[in-house]
């Protein structure tokens, strides 16, 4: 598999490594890591920094009963969680993503002609959402702006916008106020994982009409 060309920046990866990202954003990052050896390496370095900082903290004494409490639990059998069934169409996607899919089949729903989506049961602040979006070939999604952060990772196919071309594993983070218009190529569809913090803003008459339906 070709290595991704677009990666999370240092701030985002540090926020991920320190446990400081909302679940939905962390999922786009971990899914990218499933594709990207370079970023796995960068993440390991940042976690090493976390280890160094943990190691040098001044200890906060535990309760007197703490050792006895844990010693009594060492023989407990751990609860074993079984791996969820991976939907067939997700077989080639990173294993980082599949535990967060809604079930063994993906309940795709049409948004507008050529665009289908599945909302994932994953946490995200400010009434945002986390979903898989599947866009048909040769389709322009429409100019839209962002009222909050958005993180996207491409799972299959790809799209282009003013920032370049995005293929499998590529990661895109857009900040508040950025506008862009993704377009899929004529020959292939695109499936992305998209986490948005708050609803997207569409421009233009058609977009405004569609907005309530899209719920984007």
């Amino acid at each position: 598999m070709a290595m991704p060309k677009h990666h999370p920046n240092d701030e985002t990866l540090l926020a991920y490594s320190s446990g400081n990202l909302a679940q939905g954003f962390a999922l786009t990052v971990s899914t990218h890591l499933g594709f990207c050896a370079d970023c796995r390496h960068r993440t390991a370095e940042m976690e090493q920094l976390g280890g160094a900082l943990l190691d040098e903290l001044s200890p906060a004494p535990m309760d007197d009963a703490a050792w006895n409490a844990i010693a009594a639990r060492l023989d407990e059998a751990p609860t074993v969680s079984t791996a969820p069934t991976v939907p067939q169409e997700a077989a080639a996607w990173p294993r980082e993503l599949t535990p967060y899919l809604p079930g063994p089949t993906l309940p795709w729903r049409a948004l507008v002609p050529g665009v289908r989506h599945v909302t994932l049961p994953v946490g995200i602040p400010k009434r945002g959402n986390v979903r898989l979006v599947r866009i048909a070939p040769d389709k322009a999604v429409g100019v839209h702006g962002h009222t909050g952060r958005e993180m996207t990772v491409v799972l299959e196919g790809g799209f282009s916008d003013v920032l370049g071309h995005y293929g499998p594993g590529d990661f895109m983070e857009l900040d508040e106020g950025v506008e862009h218009e993704p377009v899929t190529p004529p020959s292939s569809h695109c499936i992305c994982l998209i986490a948005v913090e708050s609803p997207l803003r569409f421009r233009g008459f058609l977009a405004r009409l569609l907005q309530p339906i899209l719920g984007l």
């Binding site: 701030e11 320190s18 446990g19 703490a66 980082e96």
Partner: protein, 184 residues
């Protein structure tokens, strides 16, 4: 754990993995549980939550000792990632998306961190020195990233400096630290 005569944390974890050595675990618990508790307190947890996460983290260390790979990470780093994930489990009631163990098997050729001639423990010590040697403003944003449960945009507010400055300080800090970790 720096006392030269006693076993390293990494060796203790391997003892636990091989023989379910409770004495080794007790030593590891004595060292790390209070640090995990301190980590949680720094992040705004109350004492009961901090104790709880420290216990849960150490229980995971006991159970997963066999999956610890001493060539890839030092003990403190491994325990840090477990504590980070347990904190989110317990406090946010969410499972933090991490690298999958299942995926791990398919990536045997991931490069180990930095060069292997210096051990992971030694590198940890160098890294701590490098953090201590960072300019104060860079060290502050790095620490806040790990010890404040809030986005960088709010760190900006806490420090009274613009977000762009927070980001550039983080970038400068990471560039310096990467040199110690064997890159660039």
């Amino acid at each position: 754990m720096s006392d030269r005569d006693s076993p390293t944390a990494s060796q203790l974890i391997q003892c636990i993995a091989q023989t379910e050595d409770r004495a080794a675990f007790r030593q590891l618990f004595g060292y790390f549980a209070p640090r995990i508790k301190a980590y949680l307190l720094r992040l705004g947890a109350n004492a009961a939550q901090a104790e709880d996460v420290a216990q849960e983290t150490m229980l995971t260390v006991w159970r997963k000792a066999a999956s610890f790979e001493p060539a890839k990470a030092d003990a403190a780093t491994w325990i840090f990632t477990i504590a980070r994930n347990r904190r989110i489990d317990v406090l946010r009631r969410e499972r933090y998306p991490t690298l999958s163990d299942e995926g791990q098997d398919q990536r045997p050729d991931d490069a180990p961190l930095a060069d292997e001639t210096i051990g992971v423990t030694e590198r940890q010590r160098l890294l701590q020195k490098a953090v201590a040697a960072l300019p104060a403003d860079q060290a502050e944003v790095v620490r806040l990233s790990f010890f404040e449960d809030r986005p960088h945009s709010e760190i900006e507010r806490a420090l009274g400096i613009p977000l762009g400055t927070v980001k550039s300080r983080l970038r400068l800090a990471m560039t310096r630290l990467r040199k110690v970790m064997g890159e660039e």
